[in-house]
């Protein structure tokens, strides 16, 4: 692994020198790291960065909401909460307070593909963090009381994040309309009915199935001695038992959408919202990179096409953006606009579709292409300032691309994208058959909607 990386670096460096032009984007420094695999299947990545005496440790469990079965949605996220409920040597709720007691921060998040636990601590507490993470990986306490009580916290989380916010349900609506079969259809936080129906046996089975070392990547980034950190990893993680069975990946595929879907829903929103979505590919597919570029030309910065047309020039929208949600399985490109008072959602829909059609017909200009490449370079550089950010990039490459070299390699892929690439993927994915159009209209008293002309 390391050898091949070095060769890669030399080749890339040579290519850069050869192709350097005054407009070329600034190159971020490359990652230096070690990658180990323990006999129980655990993958470990060490990235030394001694600039500040702190260390970030993150564990990426390769399980997210897309691994959930129908009737059992919300498990991955719920399980993230349960991981703070104590293990053989760590009392319930103590994980976070132990980390805080040394000045560190700890938290976790769950998305469609992964469940991530992270902590940043003063560097000399690296042994403590590794020890606690191994403890909960191997010996989590799961009892009926904890399980029932924590479910109430998750219900409050759902109320806070989704049900009580204007536009809080936007994502949920988009995905339940766009997907029929693949579990991306359901929200990460899941259904409260499913959580209420869950049994202790379900939860224990989930732990035994997915919380196994071969399904985990540990990244340690920051100020440590490599030999010392390697020893600590072996000391605390070698003893985590190997999984009894392989991790299942029997996730149903989404059948191709054959014709445009249109839907209007009513929600408690102050202003109407219009969504135009298209089914696209997955993160890591060769088409993913030009799609990101297309999204940047459409929506990154005040010079982007969607902002300029819908917000600046016409004043049709309070805000408008488009993004390619490129994740592990094929997902969506979607553009969203919040419709200003007195403006028509139909006209906003037309304007959004016109921008996608223009991308197919005309592609992007050389200046737009270079601009988005420069914006990419910026995102790369500013996205690698902290040890936590660095660890996340390495983990993402290892877990979601199954190829850690992409943590650096994607930079060059992006810089080599051509105008033709962007136009080609626009034609491939922004088709009328793959389109989903959603109008979200304010419900309630007629007075709210009266300014809106259809």
């Amino acid at each position: 692994m390391r050898t091949s990386l070095k060769i890669g670096v030399v080749l890339v460096a040579a290519a850069l020198v050869w192709s350097a032009s005054p407009e070329a984007a600034t190159r971020p420094p490359k990652f230096v790291y070690q990658r180990l695999q323990l006999s129980n299947g655990l993958t470990v990545i060490l990235h030394q960065d001694r600039s500040t005496p702190i260390v970030n440790v993150q564990l990426w469990y390769h399980v997210g909401s897309k691994d959930e079965k129908p009737g059992r949605t919300g498990f991955a996220h719920f399980f993230e909460h349960l991981m703070f409920k104590g293990s053989r040597n760590v009392e319930p709720e103590q994980h976070t307070s132990i980390v805080a007691s040394v000045g560190g921060q700890a938290n976790a998040y769950t998305n469609e593909d992964t469940t991530v636990f992270w902590q940043t601590v003063p560097a000399h507490f690296l042994p403590l963090v590794l020890w606690m993470e191994a403890d909960r990986m191997a010996t989590l306490r799961i009892d009926q009381d904890t399980f029932v009580r924590e479910r109430e916290v998750v219900k409050e989380e759902r109320r806070m994040r989704i049900e009580n916010q204007p536009y809080g349900r936007l994502n949920e609506i988009i995905y339940e309309q766009a997907f029929t079969t693949h579990p991306y259809r359901h929200p990460v936080i899941g259904s409260m009915e499913d959580l209420s129906a869950a049994t202790l046996a379900d939860v224990r089975d989930f732990y035994a199935t997915y919380y196994v070392p071969s399904n985990v990547t540990v990244v340690i980034a920051g100020d440590f001695d490599v030999a010392e950190a390697t020893n600590l990893v072996h000391q605390y993680f070698d003893r985590v038992p190997k999984a009894a069975k392989p991790v299942p990946r029997d996730i149903p595929r989404e059948p191709a959408q054959k014709q445009e879907k249109r839907v209007t829903v009513e929600e408690a929103v102050p202003l109407p919202a219009v969504v135009v979505a298209h089914h696209i590919t997955y993160d890591g597919h060769p088409d993913a990179y030009p799609l990101h570029i297309a999204a940047k030309v459409l929506s990154d910065g005040n010079s982007s096409r969607i902002y300029r047309k819908l917000v600046y020039e016409s004043g049709m929208a309070l805000t408008a953006f488009g993004q390619a949600n490129l994740i592990e399985h094929p997902n969506l490109f979607y553009a969203v606009a919040i419709v200003n008072p007195g403006q028509s959602p139909a006209a906003v829909e037309k304007a959004l579709i016109a921008e996608l059609d223009r991308m197919k017909a005309e592609g992007v200009t050389p200046r737009e292409l270079q601009r988005s490449k420069n914006q990419f370079a910026r995102d790369y550089i500013l996205g690698r300032e902290t040890v936590q950010q660095k660890a996340s990039h390495l983990a993402h490459a290892e877990v979601l691309h199954a190829d850690i070299t992409t943590a650096d390699g994607e930079f060059d892929i992006f810089q080599n994208i051509t105008q033709a690439d962007v136009q080609r993927v626009s034609k491939t994915y922004f088709t009328p058959e793959s389109r989903v159009v959603i109008h979200i209209m304010p419900k309630g008293p007629a007075s709210r909607g009266q300014e809106v002309r259809q």
């Binding site: 500040t52 007691s101 000045g103 191997a138 370079a377």
Partner: protein, 491 residues
């Protein structure tokens, strides 16, 4: 890429064969030892990283932090005027002035500014807070001069074209419409008004429909001319540029910026705290937004840091009794916290949480009881030590990036605190004793004078408020809230 796909396919094939086997049950590995946490390694010394402060002849203060880990430079400017400087009747002026800075400046149109910064892969942002306005730019190191040229146009020579004013006013009006239905934002606006009264800190920085409509080009030009002068500004240059180069750039682009006379700012003091409970009715709410608080102290107050430690015990990182009781013990919320907000001329202590409608009164009772307990009972050494251990241990995490370092220096300068104190953070934190906490808690915490805001489905919880000591309240429908009127209702 291809290798990844094949690996994925193999796993899929493997699973269908394995799925016939019975599921394994979760059980701790029998060999897993009972043990104490491992000892820490040798600690590494932590010092506040080097920085330099300079002043131009025209009064502009410059902070320099050089670090070459990433090839980027950020330039952050603070102008000492924000929403607090909005004239009465012209609320929203600071906010909209800041918004308009990059919507046309010198010879550049709004669209050119957008294109100039986007093309070099930079970020330009402007905005206004309570006491200040800011202009931040981030550029790659080779574009430092281009970034400064753009920034000096935006800061010094904004055009305030009528067409751009009308455009941004319209957007601000739409944004008001959205925030008027956002319970979090309404609760925040109303608690500020209750705590600070008609002091500028109690007024909405986003303006009102009437005030935004009343703003003219002359207002923007006047606000800008008055406050955007170098002797009223601080700038930090941070990142992959030497101090000498950074300074040469600042001299070139800001050296000939003319100083000005600053108007006095002398608002009347905020009112004494009084108990007042406002229920804002939002019938479709599933949760109630809860805000509880009263007046605190300004940032520069001698007791600020001690009181801040007390408030952190109530609801801050490293302690947080509110979170322990409301979430960990009672499962009444996903999150609860309390903050001491120290502004230039006054401050506030505000606790916030949200809970499902049926638990509103109980959550409110717990929050108020925790204010009361903090004031009544001496904090235990162990609890204070834990909070201080967090604060002290956390210090290296606050100096990781050059921007974090610059922010600490800028804050110190902005609030006119002592720069010598910056490296002594650890000693200052550990110097606070339980007696100190008790002294400030008794003096500043007033459980009987708390203002309360509840935004939620009123019919479902007001009946239970009396039982927790809040039988007297004012009820206002969400669409009738007007923080500019004495009774907070639209007239």
């Amino acid at each position: 890429m291809r290798a990844a796909l094949i690996a994925c396919a193999l796993v899929l094939a493997g699973v269908s064969a394995a799925s016939a086997q019975p599921a394994a049950t979760a059980q701790p590995a029998p060999a897993w030892p009972r043990e104490f946490p491992p000892r820490p390694l040798q600690p590494r010394p932590v010092t506040f990283p080097p920085f330099e402060i300079k002043k131009l002849a025209n009064g502009l203060t410059v902070v320099l932090v050089s670090q070459n880990e990433q090839p980027a430079v950020s330039v952050r400017m603070i102008v000492r005027a924000g929403a607090a400087q909005d004239p009465r009747g012209k609320l929203g002026l600071a906010m909209l002035t800041a918004t308009l800075l990059d919507q046309g400046a010198a010879s550049r149109s709004a669209q050119q500014i957008a294109d100039d910064i986007d093309y070099i892969g930079g970020i330009l942002s402007t905005g206004a807070g309570t006491d200040l306005s800011f202009i931040n730019a981030v550029v790659m190191k080779d574009d430092y001069a281009a970034g400064l040229a753009l920034m000096s146009d935006v800061v010094r020579r904004p055009s305030f074209l009528q067409a751009e004013i009308d455009r941004q006013r319209q957007q601000a009006l739409s944004a008001l419409k959205v925030s008027a239905e956002d319970p979090d934002s309404v609760a925040g606006m109303v608690i500020d008004r209750l705590i600070f009264g008609f002091h500028p800190y109690g007024m909405p920085g986003g303006g009102t429909e009437a005030s935004l409509q009343s703003l003219t080009r002359a207002d923007f030009v006047d606000f800008h001319t008055r406050y955007f002068v170098p002797n009223n500004a601080l700038v930090a240059v941070v990142g992959d540029v030497s101090h000498a180069d950074a300074m040469a750039g600042i001299e070139k682009y800001f050296g000939d910026w003319a100083a000005g006379d600053l108007p006095p700012f002398d608002p009347t003091a905020p009112p004494e705290p009084t108990k007042r409970v406002i229920v804002i009715d939002r019938p479709d709410a599933v949760q109630t937004e809860i805000r509880v608080g009263h007046l605190g102290v300004p940032r520069k107050h001698d007791d600020f840091e001690t009181l801040d430690q007390a408030v952190k015990i109530l609801g801050g990182e490293g302690a947080n009794r509110l979170q322990q009781v409301l979430r960990s013990q009672r499962q009444l919320t996903y999150g609860a916290s309390a903050d001491l907000d120290g502004y230039k001329h006054a401050g506030a202590i505000v606790a916030e949480t949200d809970t499902q409608t049926a638990n509103t009164a109980e959550a409110l009772r717990v929050v108020v009881e925790e204010f009361s307990r903090l004031q009544r009972e001496r904090v235990h050494e162990v609890e204070l030590e834990a909070a201080q251990d967090y604060a002290v241990g956390h210090f290296p995490l606050t100096i990781e990036t050059p921007d974090q370092i610059a922010t600490q220096v800028l804050n110190t300068l902005f609030y006119e605190l002592s720069l010598e104190e910056l490296p002594k953070y650890r000693d200052r934190v550990l110097g606070v004793s339980p007696d100190d906490i008790q002294r400030v808690a008794r003096f500043f915490i007033r459980p009987d004078r708390l203002s309360v805001v509840l935004v939620g489905n009123a019919d479902q919880f007001v009946g239970s408020l009396k039982g927790v000591g809040f039988g007297e309240f004012e009820r206002i429908p969400l669409d009738q809230v007007d923080v500019l009127s004495v009774d907070l209702k639209k007239q």
